[in-house]
């Protein structure tokens, strides 16, 4: 019997492999930010931050933070050579205009029609959508990054989202800590599985329709 253990690193590591040199990528707060640490040697991606910069670099050393240079989570960052700053209209022009290749963001729920919910639990928690609705509607590819199961054991992948949507039919790829799925024809399609999980286990432990892709293989 396989026991589920949350593993955020595998999610970040798998997502980082999607990128090719030159891709413009927006990483959401939290887990998605980790993706930046796993981009393979030799691949140069350009990180965009929706508060108004391109060419996001690593966090500065302690004591060298610049209060005028932060990411969309308000945390100190740096800028790489060739990066630049712009206002919020240009920032979302870039996002909405399809100039971002990948947006990676966390979810509360994601469903087999590519719907995503991550900004509101009515009556409980309403952080607001911030830039997420634009990012999901505008980016060329949307990658949802999430642990596969809630602490309660229920699936984050749903037949149908029950929470207010951040965007409808926009999610292309879902990467959890058990496998990588595409969203196709109203189903999750398992493209790769992460050991020790097996396709059978994954189909059984996903609260949505999952088909196993013909070429589905283990990710290493």
């Amino acid at each position: 019997m396989i026991e589920y253990v949350e593993n955020k690193e595998i999610i970040a590591r798998r997502i980082a492999r999607f990128f090719a040199s030159g891709d413009v990528v927006n990483l959401g707060i939290g887990l998605p930010t980790m993706v930046g640490n796993f981009v393979p040697e030799g691949v140069t991606v350009i990180l965009q931050s929706e508060n108004g910069m391109m060419g996001l670099g690593p966090a500065p050393e302690k004591g060298k933070e610049d209060p005028m240079l932060v990411n969309a989570g308000g945390m100190p960052v740096s800028i790489l050579p060739g990066g630049c700053f712009f206002d919020s209209a240009m920032s979302f022009g870039i996002i909405r205009g399809g100039h971002v290749d990948y947006t990676v963001l966390g979810v509360l729920e994601v469903d087999q029609d590519g719907n995503l919910a991550n900004y509101k639990i009515p009556g409980k928690m309403v952080p607001g959508m911030g830039g997420a609705m634009d990012l999901v509607a505008g980016s060329k590819k949307v990658i949802a990054a999430t642990t596969h199961l809630e602490k309660s054991g229920s699936s984050k992948l749903k037949h149908r989202c029950s929470l207010p949507l951040t965007a409808a039919h926009e999610v292309d790829i879902v990467v959890t800590d058990v496998g990588y799925f595409t969203v196709k024809d109203g189903k999750f399609r398992l493209e790769e599985y992460f050991a020790p999980y097996t396709p059978e286990w994954i189909v059984e432990h996903t609260g949505a329709d999952v088909v196993v892709a013909p070429g589905c293989k283990e990710f290493k």
């Binding site: 931050s49 929706e50 508060n51 108004g52 910069m53 610049d66 209060p67 005028m68 240079l69 932060v70 990411n71 969309a72 989570g73 308000g74 800028i79 700053f85 712009f86 206002d87 919020s88 209209a89 920032s91 979302f92 996002i95 909405r96 719907n115 900004y119 509101k120 928690m125 309403v126 952080p127 607001g128 959508m129 911030g130 830039g131 997420a132 609705m133 634009d134 509607a137 505008g138 207010p164 949507l165 951040t166 965007a167 409808a168 039919h169």
Partner: protein, 224 residues
């Protein structure tokens, strides 16, 4: 070139009247006009409508209260039109208790609505929010088979913004990610007050490198 009055933060605060729609620059406190915000808190104006990216970061334990958070704390706002309130539990409390109204707007839509107001456009058609609660009460138009929401211009009575540098005519340059909504709000409000870290002579800024042309700015405050 005509020079603009350099006023104190308290004088700036006095230009805001109860009930005004106030655009506040900044993003989670980065690029916020902090001295003017503090002066408005002291002046005790209320019944305002806030237009801002967020309501700042408020963390009592860490002693952080930035962006518009001190004004939220002072209950200056009747309505807050923002994209994000997740870093200010007091905003969420006021919303849940009904003490104030919070209107959530996607960040890119907020930017375009402000820009539209300043640029004489009635509104823009954006795909953002289609199929979500953001649609409610809005016109939806289909162009070349794609659905868009009609998002209307969002103007204000007063904008309080932050710049790195202002010349005495009001030409502005912003620093790094402290630019954000500031240049958009400068175009969209009846009265525009800039809090500048540095005030320089007219002609000291390269005319190719001005972010906000002088004509948008009415008053300049020296940042502390």
């Amino acid at each position: 070139m005509i020079q603009k009055p350099i006023i104190s933060a308290a004088e700036a605060a006095a230009k805001i009247k109860p009930g005004d729609v106030v655009h506040v620059g900044g993003f989670l406190g980065c690029g916020s006009p902090d001295a003017i915000i503090a002066a408005i808190v002291s002046a005790g104006v209320d019944g305002l409508t806030l237009v801002c990216n967020d309501t700042g970061i408020y963390n009592e334990a860490k002693g952080v209260s930035n962006g518009p958070a001190p004004l939220v704390q002072a209950k200056a706002f009747k309505t807050m039109i923002v994209s994000h309130i997740g870093t200010n539990p007091e905003t969420q409390r006021q919303m849940n208790s009904g003490e104030s109204e919070v209107v959530l707007v996607p960040q890119g839509t907020l930017a375009e609505r402000i820009r539209a107001a300043g640029n004489g456009l009635g509104g823009v058609l954006t795909p953002t929010g289609v199929g979500t609660e953001v649609e409610e009460g809005k016109r939806k138009l289909t162009l070349k088979g794609k659905d868009y929401l009609l998002e209307e211009a969002l103007s204000g009575d007063v904008a309080i913004i932050k710049a790195k540098k202002a010349d005495k005519a009001g030409n502005l340059v912003y620093a790094k990610t402290a630019r954000n909504f500031n240049p958009l709000m400068a175009t969209a409000c009846g009265t525009v007050i800039v809090e500048a870290e540095e005030i320089v002579e007219v002609g000291a800024i390269d005319p190719d490198q001005v972010h906000t042309p002088s004509i948008f700015v009415d008053f300049i405050v020296q940042a502390e």
